[in-house]
């Protein structure tokens, strides 16, 4: 059937290709245990794909916490925390493989991160099956619905909280007749109905809802449809890449309607302004769950991140808080066992207790047996019984002269 050269060739190539995973496999046991006694934590963050631009800042924030904690002597009697980060590739399938790798190979106690709802929903069953904690930075209501075994915590506001907040901004700027221009994505779709209801309550009217698909080549038709009826304002619900195109389209069209958007698209931790420049961005309102802007620890966090004063970090703040809450709960429960320390999360995060926002300080207080109420960089870190965050207020900014300027807070 075959001649000799074929056989030799096949072996060489098979050996070559085969050795790739082998090389990886050889070193695995060493990684799995890490240095003796390290506490392994994991995160699944987007570094590639459509939402890849959000990952790096989250990674930076999470690593900042870990280095602070380790620098101050670690947790659980001097053990170091080790953070493993995987790329979600903005894909639910990749996020399942990544979560499984973290759980089984790195033996992590927490799988955090989860920028996108599809990634979180797909990984949820396997994290729950392993009895580990899942922390989210995504908004779709479904993730904390059903049986969560008390293991899921959301650091982000839910979709159904974003919608009404948008309507309140409309009320503030005096917009009664509005249209909605929204991306088809689970985070956003779920906020449209609550927005409509709230608009009705405040006596406004939603003239039209225009949905568009992610990754479209052009948004001209949708923009024209949404701005065509000349509403008082348009509620634009985008992510970063599409908002960049849409805002240019709005600018080119010369429409008079006001634009109210989300921080996910029209701020994205400052990336939006960098991408479109001041002229195009002028006059856009955007809202996002409010970080504790006035607290000194938030100012420190912004400085540590190397950002200009007053910058609003939505997702990086969430990543920061996920790490803080986890190490605090572990210290409080005196164990790294996820099923146990998950019960300590509300103890260290919710009132009553002495308010504290510095992680090193908070760890010290927990060790001294004090009752604390930790406040994070992205939110106050208080959770209801489903693991959703409580007391969400939204921070509204207006882009003026190429800068985000504070406009107000709605809740």
């Amino acid at each position: 059937m075959t001649d000799n050269s074929f056989v030799v060739n096949r072996r060489t190539v098979l050996a070559g290709v085969g050795s790739l995973p082998l090389v990886a496999a050889l070193g695995k046991p060493a990684i799995a245990q890490g240095a003796a006694g390290d506490v392994p934590l994991g995160m699944v963050l987007p570094f590639s794909g459509a939402t890849g631009s959000y990952g790096p800042a989250m990674k930076q924030a999470a690593e900042l916490v870990i280095s602070k904690v380790n620098g101050a002597g670690g947790i659980l009697g001097g053990r170091q925390v080790k953070l493993f980060i995987e790329d979600s590739e903005t894909s639910a399938t990749a996020s399942v493989a990544a979560s499984k790798k973290l759980l089984e190979v790195n033996k992590v106690e927490l799988v955090g991160g989860f920028w996108g709802s599809p990634e979180a929903l797909a990984a949820k069953p396997i994290i729950l099956a392993a009895n580990k904690v899942q922390m989210l930075s995504c908004a779709a209501n479904a993730v904390t619905e059903g049986d969560t075994k008390g293991l899921i915590y959301r650091l982000q506001a839910k979709s159904s909280q974003w919608g009404p907040a948008g309507a309140k901004v409309m009320d503030k700027i005096g917009a009664k007749k509005v249209t909605v221009l929204a991306q088809q994505n689970p985070f956003i779709v779920a906020m449209v109905e609550p927005f409509k209801e709230e608009m009705k309550k405040i006596g406004g009217e939603v003239l039209d809802i225009v949905m568009y698909n992610p990754d479209q080549a052009s948004y001209r038709a949708e923009v024209e449809k949404a701005f065509g009826p000349e509403p008082d304002a348009v509620f634009v619900l985008p992510l970063l890449t599409d908002m960049v195109s849409i805002s240019k389209e709005i600018f080119r069209g010369g429409f008079n309607s006001k634009v109210v958007s989300l921080g996910t698209g029209a701020d994205a931790e400052g990336k939006f302004l960098q991408a479109v420049g001041p002229e195009v961005a002028e006059g856009i309102y955007h809202l996002q769950p409010a970080p504790p802007i006035d607290s000194p620890s938030y100012a420190r966090f912004v400085k540590d991140m190397g950002a200009p004063e007053g910058a609003v970090f939505l997702f990086a703040g969430n990543a920061w808080d996920q790490m803080c809450i986890t190490v605090l709960a572990m210290e409080h429960a005196k164990t790294q066992e996820a099923a146990v320390w998950t019960k300590s999360i509300r103890e260290v995060c919710n009132p009553p207790g002495e308010a504290v926002d510095d992680i090193v300080e908070a760890l010290k207080m927990v060790r001294e047996g004090k009752s604390i109420n930790f406040n994070g960089a992205g939110c106050t870190c208080d959770f209801d019984e489903k693991g959703d965050s409580l007391n969400r207020s939204f921070y509204v900014q207006l882009i003026k002269d190429g800068k985000n300027t504070p406009f107000g807070v709605v809740s």
Binding site: M1, T2, N9, R10, V13, L14, G16, V17, L20, P21, V23, A24, G27, K28, I31, A32, F47, S48, G52, G55, P56, K59, F84, I85, E86, D87, E89, T90, S91, A92, T93, V96, A97, A98, K100, K101, L103, E104, V105, G116, P118, L121, A122, K124, P125, I126, A140, A142, G146, Q184, N185, P186, I188, V189, A190, M211, N213, P214
Partner: protein, 306 residues
């Protein structure tokens, strides 16, 4: 570690099913199908929507049937087109399916996706724990499909498909109905892709439109090319190698600490590309190419052909 490898093995099973189907359509019958992901998505959604009502087995059968029917329909419409044009039509089909799933919320729950898809043998799986039962199910499914497709490849049907691929005019001149045969090949491939979609939905238990991007099609083509076009055994090796490349590179950053994770995730996709380029340079015919069948193999008693 073992549970992680099991996850990877299940993902390989899904990729292998998709690859086997493409190998039939493109590898053996020479029909370029760039809309693979559309058929997988249809299978996955049919399963996700029907399984809670009908049970997993009827849902999976219907998923295969729906996907096969749509394949046949698309083939009837477009298969007389030349190779490149067929490619364009199928790309379009894949996109249409994705957009329909994303926007027809009344049927597919749109961008929110379908959650809580029941798994086959869920009770048994719960009892034993882990994914043991599921991996057995997935492997069995791949085995059944492999045996069926391999039997088909060795049958007269498979032979005539290869003949069409190599020269449709000659085959037609020999009295074969090229058109009907192509439609059949396309439909069988579609059925297998639908089944792959069902397996994907069963495993993830949550599906949404973002899981069905053209990258699925690209991986299927990579698996077929890496394995050797036309060879089912090669396809299985190809699917494993591609997944080994995809997942193996995940471990790089645990070793290489010089490069930071953000750069590495970009580098990782580059490495996968480089790996495939290398493979094509070193082994253009694939890892286990289709064996050349001679007349002598079919007619062992015919001394004259030796």
């Amino acid at each position: 570690m073992i549970a992680y490898l099991v996850t990877i093995a299940i993902l390989v099973c899904v990729a292998a099913l998709v690859g086997l189907a493409l190998n039939l359509q493109w590898g053996q019958a020479g029909l370029v199908n760039f809309g693979v992901v559309g058929f997988v998505a249809i299978g996955a959604y049919a399963t996700a929507l029907l399984a809670p009502h009908l049970g997993w087995f009827p849902a999976m059968l219907i998923a295969g049937a729906v996907s096969a029917a749509l394949s046949a329909g698309l083939a009837l419409l477009s298969i007389r087109l030349e190779e490149n044009y067929l490619a364009i039509v199928t790309i379009g089909f894949g996109e249409v399916v994705r957009l329909a799933i994303l926007n027809e919320g009344w049927l597919t729950y749109g961008a929110l996706g379908v959650a809580d898809i029941p798994r086959p043998f869920a009770a048994l799986g719960q009892m034993i724990g882990g994914d043991t039962v599921f991996i057995a199910f997935a492997l069995a499914l791949v085995a059944v499909v492999f045996v069926l497709l391999e039997a088909m490849a060795r049958s007269p049907f498979g032979r005539v498909l290869r003949a069409i691929r190599d020269d449709a005019t000659v085959t037609s001149a020999l009295g074969k109905n090229v058109f009907a045969l192509r439609v059949r090949a396309f439909a069988v491939g579609g059925a297998v892709m639908g089944t792959a979609g069902a397996l994907h939905a069963f495993y993830l238990t949550y599906i949404d439109p973002s899981q069905f991007t053209p990258i699925v099609t690209a991986y299927a083509f990579m698996a077929v090319i890496a394995g050797g076009r036309g060879s089912n055994v090669g396809l299985l090796i190809g699917a494993c190698s591609i997944m080994a490349l995809l997942e193996g590179t995940r471990f790089l950053k645990d070793f290489v600490t010089v490069i930071d994770g953000v750069q590495l995730s970009a580098l990782r996709l580059g490495l996968i590309g480089a790996g495939i380029v290398l493979l094509l340079i070193l082994r253009p015919q694939g890892l286990a190419p289709e064996s050349k069948r001679r007349a002598a193999d079919l007619l062992p008693d015919d001394k004259a052909s030796a």
